[in-house]
């Protein structure tokens, strides 16, 4: 039997080359394009010391890592750091306090380490479902996706991806304890942890049935594996209840940033109104092309979820649908390109485009070019993602 094309070493080398690419673009954009720089509300010290891949929401993670959660907002419009889940900044704090390195650098290191772990798990997950030939194209699809540079930034995307994959692959490998732990931690990482719950429950049930277990035992195993992400999320809520007397403070904090008072339930209506306004006023590309692209990413992932459905991969399709389904509840489309990143099964479908090699190559090159542009405008405070 021939050895797999995507050996661990090759996968890590490809990922390392991509890491170098993104960092190179970020450093050049930071040093060589001062004319491009947009305004920021960050203080002198933070602007001076952070790495180029620490911008926008990274500041909130840094503030939690360095000073913990702030006092709750007293009025609408007061921006606080409660919208951000605790696990990632906690890891950043641990690394910073043990080594003394700069906080944003610690964040980049944790994001990078999580990405390398995620890549190996992703390869394993693809191999079991689509076979060896899909591994490399799916990895290229993941890395060349325009917003994938967030996996290296001071953001939670790579940790969320790593924990989701660790949980799913642990179910595949019949390691329920690891799956439970990873699921619980993902609930403490970001809101996508919650939509991981049904995915883990259904995956675990399917695996149990595959292993010849009864329906009763399969359902019990599903419950056991599906609950931890919810428990992780509830732990976060319980902490806020204990400390600030408001278990849903993270939602309040997120909606406090808007220009008008709203709740998560108002989100879909606001997004629909925004899209309608963009379409009817002809603003689609010339006024807000970045926002339009976010909508395009969302549609693309909806399409990929449908493709998964057509391949009879119900559980994966549900997970992708639920992940992108979170976007409208934020009340804006502007982070859609980042929100879709933990929906890893979609990248496996994208990798399927490699059956048309020339088209796939063009798509990958275009993806990398768009990614470079995104990195440059992110680093220069022109686009928050």
């Amino acid at each position: 039997m021939p050895p797999p094309v995507s050996t661990t070493r090759r996968l890590l080398l490809v990922t390392l080359a991509w890491v170098v690419w993104v960092w190179l673009i970020a450093l050049v954009a930071d040093q060589a394009m001062p004319w491009l720089r947009g305004p920021t509300k960050w203080g002198y010290d933070l602007v001076r010391r952070v790495t180029p891949l620490a911008r926008w929401d990274s500041g909130w993670y840094i503030s939690i890592a360095e000073g913990g959660y702030q006092q709750p907002p007293k009025a609408f419009g007061q921006e606080t750091n409660h919208a951000f889940f605790p696990l990632y900044p906690l890891l950043v704090r641990l690394l910073t306090r043990t080594t003394g390195i700069e906080t944003s650098l610690a964040g980049n290191l944790i994001s990078g380490a999580a990405l390398f772990g995620a890549v190996l798990l992703f390869a394993d997950w693809i191999r079991r479902r689509w076979g060896e030939p899909r591994v490399a194209p799916a990895l290229f699809a993941l890395l060349a996706f325009p917003t994938s540079f967030f996996f290296l930034s001071v953001y939670t995307e790579s940790l969320a991806l790593f924990l989701a994959l660790l949980a799913v692959v642990s179910i595949d490998r019949s390691r329920p304890l690891v799956a439970v732990l990873a699921g619980y931690l993902s609930g403490l990482t970001r809101i996508t942890g919650v939509v991981l719950a049904p995915y883990l429950a259904l995956s675990s049930m399917a695996k149990s049935r595959q292993d010849g277990k009864s329906w009763g035992r399969a359902v019990a195993a599903g419950m056991l594996t599906g609950l931890p992400p919810i428990l992780g999320f509830l732990t976060f809520c319980a902490y806020f209840e204990y400390r600030f007397g408001d278990p849903f403070l993270f939602m309040k904090a997120q909606h406090n940033w808007g220009t008008m008072e709203k709740t998560a339930l108002d989100g879909p209506r606001i997004v629909a109104k925004m899209i309608a306004a963009d379409v009817t006023t002809g603003r689609i590309f010339h006024k807000s092309p970045a926002r339009t692209l976010e909508g395009v990413f969302l549609l693309l992932f909806a399409f990929l979820a449908i493709r998964l459905l057509r391949e009879k991969r119900w559980i994966e399709s549900l997970y992708v649908f639920m992940t992108i389904g979170l976007v409208p509840f934020t009340g804006t489309l502007e982070s859609a390109g980042r929100y879709v990143l933990p929906a890893f099964p979609a990248f496996a479908v994208l990798g399927g485009l490699s059956i048309r090699p020339s088209l796939f190559r063009v798509a990958v090159v275009l993806g990398f070019l768009l990614q470079a542009a995104y990195v440059a405008i992110f680093v220069n405070w022109l686009w928050a993602g």
């Binding site: 203080g43 002198y44 010290d45 933070l46 001076r48 010391r49 503030s63 890592a65 360095e66 000073g67 913990g68 704090r93 910073t96 306090r97 043990t98 080594t99 003394g100 390195i101 700069e102 906080t103």
Partner: protein, 261 residues
Amino acid sequence: MGRLTRTSLLAALLVSAACGPGRDLGLPHKAFLPAVVRSRIPGRVPWETRVEVTNPGGGLLAVRLRRWPPDDREAEEETIVIAPRSTRGIPLRIPLLPSVSTFLLESADAFTVTAVVRDRRGGGPPPLPIPVIEPESLARPGDTLRVGPLLSDREHRSHIGFTFPATEREAVPFRVRTAVIGADGVRLGTWEQALHGVPQIIEDPWAFYELRDRRPLFVEVTLLGGTRGRKPVWGLWVYGIVTEIATNASRFVERTVRRGS
């Protein structure tokens, strides 16, 4: 050498390298100015700090000035040369209020420095002399700074400032524990907070610490350390200023340092 030993040695080297160099105590003669300000708020007094350095010696004096924060990165550090037995004003190069900056001046030879905050147009409220502090007197981890009494009534308003020199850039943000104590000695509350990487002013301590009434109070600030686990070079300073509302005349309130064990 075993693989485990080699790995441990490498890890230890990496950690020690990451923690940076040891404490650099700089040049022998030093002065720290804890509050250097300038303001241009329409309708308010245009405050400006006048900083002057005097060279009492017979030779040229080179003074290294470190501003934190400056108005631009290139102004963070500057060497000022002063002719023998003369005095020279220092260009401010700092951001406008509400930002407060600090100056750290160092030289191989003796010098004196004076700093006053005054109305840029002349006249106006009496100038406020800025205390010139030896960096050795700054609070180290475990030390407590006490400032007060701070007043907030019909005649007075007060604010406090947490400041530190540019040398602390690698050690900040600082973690501090602040105890607010009434003039009658009653402890009104204790808070822990992280001070960000530049000096920070609390314009209205009564509102900031959510106190029920505006009784005179003292603030005791204990420096717990850096949030990044790095040791400060010199440390933290806290000041309090009481201003007469009618005249805008200000004064620094008394402060003491209690050294930790």
